[in-house]
């Protein structure tokens, strides 16, 4: 952290240092390691079903998770989600409930989002911030009522996030009535253009008027339960879709199985396609595009810092002085997250980027990259020094010891199709 700050004040940036922390996180979180000592791994409520479906299970964030399912290649899984409906077990993610007087004020200390202007059952992408404006984690925050929120954070940051929130809460004045709880269960992402068609078969709720970024509690038909389940419209693929939280494990399993019966439309999709889908949609993966040394501004997530929180009494979130300074003084930002595209060998996490005209000059580093099933060629999200971050700028990426041509391109690479009304 300190190293980075001092680097930023000079004109040279050690790009490898930028990813250093993130690589540590990745090695814990998302590397598909060969160590499948499954006894130490946690299982989601759907684990047995994945195994029965012939999924390849890998360790991910301390869980044994499906990366691919039998008889579906990575590209087939990816394309299926773009054209039909893919269902993803995301039960490993961490669900929070936080409520009680002063909760909004507390949350507004750790996130730069204007939560007062959110209406009940609206949600917003946000980031948990440390005092230097670095990102502890990215998160979806759903407001249920004034001072009552449902929050989902990353599995790979589970312990860190709990500790962070606990510690922030302890140091927050008037904290005595704020209750923070975590809960487990089945969390299922239903993604793709046919998601509503499928989900409608299971609920009496009219999904036509549930728009992107909104949530509600719905009934589920046929599971002998009068419970209502939280669904939010959105997801992590760039497609229309839903995320549904089912605290009861048996209902979670029954619902997952029931969805799979529509096998002409619904297929289970693993982590491999989840990553390529989000990458094309220009979405960040914590540990790749985001880490504790990167501010939301450097990560090109300026829109997460609400206008109303940029001055006055509400400009009081963690790291606000640095972040607001970066917004107000463009020159204080030395590098940005941008997209690049290329042909041939794909840029991958950690590849160095050099100036096209002066190939001795290192100007950035690849956060994530892969061939793009939906767009063709390769796509990558990278940190790139200014002024090389402008769209159309040619750069060189070092891949397997050779410099390869690439070009800065507009993100998202794949245009999302969210449901915002007829």
């Amino acid at each position: 952290m300190l190293k980075l700050s001092s680097k930023l004040s000079s004109n040279t940036i050690n790009h490898s240092q930028l990813l250093k922390n993130s690589i540590n996180i990745v090695s814990k979180k998302s590397s598909y390691s060969t160590n499948d000592n499954s006894e130490n791994l946690l299982k989601t409520p759907l684990y047995d079903i994945h195994v029965k479906l012939g999924a390849t299970m890998v360790p991910f964030a301390g869980y044994s998770m499906p990366v691919l399912y039998k008889d579906q290649s990575h590209i087939q899984s990816h394309n299926w989600t773009r054209s039909n409906c893919g269902i993803f077990d995301v039960s490993h993610m961490l669900q929070h409930k936080i409520s009680g007087p002063n909760t909004t004020n507390f949350l507004q200390k750790i996130v730069p989002t204007d939560l007062n202007s959110l209406k009940p059952f609206q949600n917003h992408l946000s980031v948990l911030l440390n005092n230097n404006g670095g990102i502890i984690d990215d998160t979806i925050i759903t407001k249920h009522d004034d001072d009552s929120y449902y929050i989902v954070t990353n599995a790979g940051c589970r312990e860190k996030d709990i500790k962070f929130i606990k510690n922030e809460l302890k140091n927050f004045p008037n904290n005595d009535k704020i209750i923070h709880e975590n809960f487990e269960g089945t969390l299922l992402a239903i993604q793709g253009p046919k998601s509503q068609e499928i989900l409608s078969k299971f609920t009496n709720s009219n999904l036509n008027n549930l728009y992107f970024g909104n949530s509600r509690f719905i009934d589920l038909k046929g599971f002998s339960s009068s419970d209502k389940f939280h669904i939010s419209r959105g997801g992590y693929t760039g497609e229309d879709g839903f995320e549904i939280s089912i605290p009861n494990d048996q209902i979670g399993r029954d619902f997952f199985n029931a969805l799979l019966e529509y096998d002409q439309i619904v297929k289970p999709i693993g982590l491999a396609a989840r990553d390529s889908l989000r990458l094309e949609a220009g979405m960040c993966l914590y540990g790749h595009e985001l880490n504790e040394d990167i501010t939301p501004i450097e990560a090109s997530l300026n829109w997460l810092v609400s206008k109303s929180r940029r001055d006055g009494e509400f400009a009081n979130f963690n790291g606000s002085s640095k972040i607001l300074n970066q917004i107000n003084d463009n020159k204080s930002v030395k590098f940005k997250r941008v997209g690049i595209v290329s042909k041939g060998p794909s840029p991958r996490h950690g590849n160095k980027i050099f100036s096209f005209d002066d190939t001795s000059k290192e100007i950035g580093i690849v956060c994530s990259g892969s061939p793009s099933p939906s767009c063709g060629g390769n796509v990558a999200q990278v940190f790139l020094n200014k002024p090389f971050n402008k769209i159309g700028t040619k750069v060189k990426v070092e891949i397997r010891g050779k410099l390869r041509d690439a070009q800065v391109a507009k993100m998202p690479f794949y245009q999302p199709s969210y449901y915002k009304g007829e």
Binding site: S31, S33, T34, D36, T56, M57, H74, P345, S346, P371
Partner: protein
Amino acid sequence: MFALTRNIRFTKQNFSSFKRLQSTFKLNPNSIVSTYSKSPIVKFTNEHEWISIHPDGTGFIGITNYAADALGDATFIELPTHQIGEDVKIGDTISSIESVKSASDIYSPVECKIIDVNQKLDDNPELLNVDPMGDGWIVKVEVTNNDSSELLDADKYEEFVKEE
């Protein structure tokens, strides 16, 4: 080739994602890698390459079915077109295959001179999945040192894969 094992571990149950001409570690009998001569010898490496060596010293090198399945959909192959005519040693990188998730280097199983590359793979990298031990061959070589004692025969390779 298996830098890949660092990235994704594929279990045996996940075989058969692709419609395959051959299911075991045998060459496609109708492909040039078999038909080039009447009596090719087929050998394997524990990096999951195969080579068919013909009596006149010509060899074809590719990746095994197991490797193709583990790699997943091949999206791109970097062929050693610029190395045609060059001598390579055992273990030299002669190609790189990319899938959406990862990239894997292909190493030469023998000392040889590269005499041709399979240009079909440029436009159809999926051949590496469909027919990895036939029309998905990667390079054609002239074997310059015929010592293949370090290589595995089909049975030994199959045993090796079972243990992996």
